[in-house]
Symmetry: C2
Subunit: 474 residues, 2 copies
Amino acid sequence: MAESEIDEQIHAETLPEKADEHEQLDEENRLKPEYVASVIEALEEEDEGRAYDLVEPLHPADIADLLELLQPEQRHLLAAAITDLMSGEVISELNDYVRDDMIESLPASAVAGIAEQLDTDDAVQLIEDLDPRDQRAILAELDPENRAVIENALSYPEETAGRLMQRELVAVPEHLKVGDLIDFMRDQDDLPTEFWEVFIVDHRHRPVGACQLSWILRTPRHIPLTDVMQRDQTLIPVGMDQEEVALRFQKYALISAAVVDEGGRLVGQLTVDDIVHIISEEAGEDALLMSGAGEGDINEPIRDAYSARVRWLIANLGTALVASLIIAAFGAAIEQLVALAILMPVVASIGGNAGTQTMAVSVRALATNQLTKSNTRRILWREMRVAMLNGVTVAALIGIATAVIFSPMLGLVIATAVVINICTAGLAGVAVPVLFDRVGQDPAVASSVFVTMITDSMGFFAFLGLAVACGLAG
Amino acid sequence: MAESEIDEQIHAETLPEKADEHEQLDEENRLKPEYVASVIEALEEEDEGRAYDLVEPLHPADIADLLELLQPEQRHLLAAAITDLMSGEVISELNDYVRDDMIESLPASAVAGIAEQLDTDDAVQLIEDLDPRDQRAILAELDPENRAVIENALSYPEETAGRLMQRELVAVPEHLKVGDLIDFMRDQDDLPTEFWEVFIVDHRHRPVGACQLSWILRTPRHIPLTDVMQRDQTLIPVGMDQEEVALRFQKYALISAAVVDEGGRLVGQLTVDDIVHIISEEAGEDALLMSGAGEGDINEPIRDAYSARVRWLIANLGTALVASLIIAAFGAAIEQLVALAILMPVVASIGGNAGTQTMAVSVRALATNQLTKSNTRRILWREMRVAMLNGVTVAALIGIATAVIFSPMLGLVIATAVVINICTAGLAGVAVPVLFDRVGQDPAVASSVFVTMITDSMGFFAFLGLAVACGLAG
């Protein structure tokens, strides 16, 4: 565990000044509102020079953040003011919707110019969501080699390794020595801009091993690469879904991985800096999907947000009507004892909350491959035990309160109904997502509607039904 | 965009066999249930040799998965059967709860032995959650150098860069040439097991630049490092929270980053393979927190799951009682027109769903620094427009159905109440998380309870109040 270091020599050079971003960023690394306001002010006063000077010191990722914070009209004004700062790096850091909006306002040749600067994966991302006509116009402006590479990438389905991979990589045959590889890299002009591993391939271009750069650097020149490389590497099939790719990178702590076609030949590589966005997206989207908010991107056009969300509200309307039918069946009881109407939402609400808790846990465990067929029964049993404990605690509280305010019998009825509903919620919270997963549906998407329907219906039914059965009303 | 490659020579060597994991893993890279069952069978028959043979071909990350899938007693049996496969890598891949459970059953000297194999960050993770007595016992077994390093790490607060960083790194003074650095790395025996960048430091050990290994490999020996290195690097203060660290890694697409103390001196490094777990955890935990499921880990002890969840159910009970009070105020109206009791949960439920949608979007945007003071007003206005569209659509559906089944006036009342409640939900769904964020609270934790309380109360109040105001009952 020792830190490796060469003896230092003391010398009096001053530190190079770090770009002074402190004026623009707050302590959480977000752009300060005052700074954003000053950029907007410059744009509104049509003072392009001042806008440029304000933005110039920013890191490309912060320029992207700035563009996202602005209104659409302001974005275009700013982009026009800082054309030479609008690098490929800025563009590839932009939110998808904001990028598409900006790209659509540029001429095809300008977009092609940006695409040529980028690695294939970023270039593909730049144009994949444009409409086919715009796409063709931009492709026509690219030089033939780049065009072929991008067209090839677009031939793979969206969200697969084939779309995400970069074609730029370093692959060498097995017979090289460490020294040969270093000489090769020193001579070669068109190495990828960033790479972390070298892939070793056989004569059919199939990967036989991978070699971290640090292993090359620490090894004498005369050692064969095959003695240094790791033979057992994780290969990503070109058609693999990005969610699956993200899980592999996490599980095996990968920095980069070889992508292979059906014939097992090396066709590209994936690097962790690109996968990090996917890991974050895939992990974060479950909360959005469970709530029925679709992609839930604040930059999504209002029309898209409306159509994604309204369908779940309408589904919810349907399930709420099921609950209403149950209440309607007990209409006479409610007329007789209005306390039932006052208390019934409590039973439904507690059940809904308990169901959402269990569902969130199950969906997350399914997404991270922790909940599989091997332990479903154990987890179901575990959740039932948690539900029993929760049910008894909450039932005691509401039961005693109801007994004091209304009547002991009604207290007993509501307590029993709460226990029944929380246990139902525990069961449904595991079973519904697991069933969706088994039939190949994303458990985050539709579980919520079903779980809520079950807990609402069971809440009203158990409470009102027990009240009638106990002769309280009806 | 060309792939760099040395001319290949054809030769007839056969491919090395990849460890045959196909028998154990399904197409989604999860352990097959039949395989897990066969391991359990071997354990139950006390056939340790067969258990060992079954597990031996697995990758350490898959051995960790296997242990997580087993029941606690089975885990200990398996660990005893495969002692020499229980490497530091397996241990550091284990879920926190499972790891603590397993570590507690081992003698301190065995744990110390595992810790010595690991990088500092993994060694710290191994013992940080143990109770202080166990911790001291293990530290006492470590050699003094490692003990000092781990004690230093434990002196930083949990979930900060100081806890997460590894002390192993390569730091060299500024005056070196590329060739000197390569020679140094070839000579040095105790380089870190994995590293991706070399840090260049001044005489006070403050970082002045960083150099990707690929830049070193492609550069002739006589070039000074200061000509190759990147001066403008992202430095992570040792006290920075892990969520913030994860955001920096994502935003600036970092592979590794230097960690500096208060004096700006280099004290450790963070690498992306460790940060990936944090990115996934931080992004995934919002769904769990919003549902009130706490950490929501399926391996969490039942007692912990109960205490995390029951407090939110009790809070929900409190908010449901607020809604009940509102209903109680309209008791006379309900007695007169039981249709009100039948329909009122619909209004509350739709509002709750709309509120959860907006809240999920806002919480995610806050977590990814996309929703800041600079655009709060714009996002609020955006969400209000989405709410208006949703409200009008859903109100039309339920309004017409109610008008047909009950009465036109009741249809008008419920439609108006739905619009009011969905708009309230849109407002609350943005405002509540933003307010929590402004006062320094995690918006995912408590927003749900408040948003639901607002939409439930507003749903009942608007619907019942309008019904009374329109003379339908009361």
